[in-house]
Amino acid sequence: MADQFLVLIVLFPLFVGLLIPIIAYFNKSVVWPLAILSLIGSFWAVFNTATQLLKLDPSSSISYYLGNWMAPFGIEYVVDRFNIMVLFAIICVSLLTTIFAKQVIEKELGDNAANFYSLFLLFITGLLGITITGDAFNLYVLLEIASLTSYGLIALGRGRALVATFNYLIMGSMGACFYLLGVGYLFIKTGTLNMDQLYDVLPLLFDSKAVLVGFVFIILGMWVKMAFFPLHSWLPNAYSLAPTAAACLMAPLMTKVSVYVMIRFMLNVFSTEYVYSVLTINNIIVIMSSIAIIAGSIYALSQKNLKKMLTFIIVAEIGYMVGGVWTGHVDGIRGAIYHITADAFMTLCLFMAVGCIVYRVGNDKLESLKGIFKKMPITMICFLVGGFSVIGIPPTCGFFSKWYLISGAFNSGAWYFIIALIISSLINAVLFFRIIEIGFFGAMSNEKPDYKSLQSIKFNEVPINMWLPLVIVSMILIILGIYTNEIMTNFILNIVPMM
């Protein structure tokens, strides 16, 4: 039983996700605890795999053959130091979101909450599957599951969510098909779908054009899925109009997992030597990501409501990660990898805080934030911790990932990337302090704040199971920041081969 944990990670949410529509007919109240149980089970499985993994030497990995067929013939699950970290991020985020989302789902969705939970769990299964799988086509199928469930989750939102979902559907399936095409181009030259075998076979084909086109299309597909700047038009509407619970789950995870897939393909399938020396496009891509960072931040500045602003911050964060990886220097790649987990928790913290505000205040326009500090102190403090982490104030993890990204960019001579990072941190600072001002002074930037109106606002916090996960996440942000060293040494350092 010991080595079965790897597949149990995916099975727990899958089975419960399938059982929920059946159970929901008997009694509806059992659905939420069941969902949490399944995620705890999955967390336990991830924990055990992690302990097994940490016993082995750093660069080794555990693999699991589904159906007991050897690697290239059956599908293989591979867990190494890199994706165990991403797994932890996914599991923690989804567990906290499920705990957080009980009241929000009842308030926004009412009766078909059971189906929502089922889609919720299947989305998490899809993400977990993507992270663990070692087979390129299986990754496509799981990508489709994750996107289909996310179309469902977003379409349940209000107002213009439908049109946003339709655009997301078109862009999403376009991205998935590009990925499939890329895998096809590799498949036609190598004949195998297993990533490790690809890693061994590809070096002989580095000069062939088909492999180059395959690589370009896989990366293009992932860029569409992660909403990298020129292809990001679907993300802002999709995540800001989705129901709060869905936004809290998808915003931190969906884009980060596609970044993970891109990095996995760059490091473990096409070796770093191919990506950085054979292809000479990494400077152009770093320039594109700097543009992405600056554009994302400027768009965020011009937004009127909170969720839209956060979505554009996500677009900027994606620019960090892509730029970090493509700088080609070891520090940059480590910074990007570390940023995946850090950013997942940051976005979760911010979206949960906005969820609480929307739950209490009703809408997320900036005007409705007047005097919010007095009304919901706990939520706002956690929102601040998230904000500081996005800006990059030292104790939080945002600072350290920025540290690595800047030093990576500096060593690889990408000075424009440093400038973009600095400008975006400044703009983030302006964004968050604008909100602090409105919350603190109780008046929009153009009105005259008077102190009397602030007196009347009384304490009106969200129920405990909403602000407790929020506090936990902000704790994680700080702890992650402080223990970067442990994470770096035994998780990330040995992923990146010396270049």
Binding site: V141, E144, I170, S173, L180
Partner: protein, 121 residues
């Protein structure tokens, strides 16, 4: 040149289909036409995989003693499996897309992208 055309005709048709699908998805204003473009794009990729796995003078991958044991005279089963999944996924996405089209029509009374955007203003 003619020889090149013959041997790679399949792949050219694949590329052409995909580009037609992509063009429809981006340029067409009518939502149903976008869905059609979507499915054409997917069938293009499926054609690419299948033509990858096709072998000259080979029969369908059902092993029976008449054709013997060697793998040469059977078509490639792996690409067919992948494409079974791709077709079903395509239909699932199509179903969801068409459902969205219906809901959008019910909400905004039109399935032309420009009309819908005007309604937002």
């Amino acid at each position: 040149m003619f020889e090149y055309l013959i041997t790679n005709y399949n792949y050219m048709v694949v590329v052409f289909l995909m580009m037609m699908g992509l063009w429809a998805m981006i340029a067409k204003k009518n939502l149903v036409k976008k869905c059609i473009g979507l499915v054409i794009f997917q069938t293009g990729i499926i054609l690419f995989y299948i033509s990858m796995g096709a072998k000259n003078n080979s029969t369908i991958p059902i092993i029976d003693p008449k054709y013997g044991e060697a793998a040469i005279n059977y078509a490639n089963p792996l690409t067919q499996i992948l494409m079974l999944t791709a077709i079903v996924v395509g239909v699932a996405t199509l179903g969801v897309g068409l459902m969205l089209v219906q809901r959008i029509y019910k909400e905004y009374g039109s399935i032309n992208e420009d009309r819908i955007l005007e309604k937002f203003k």
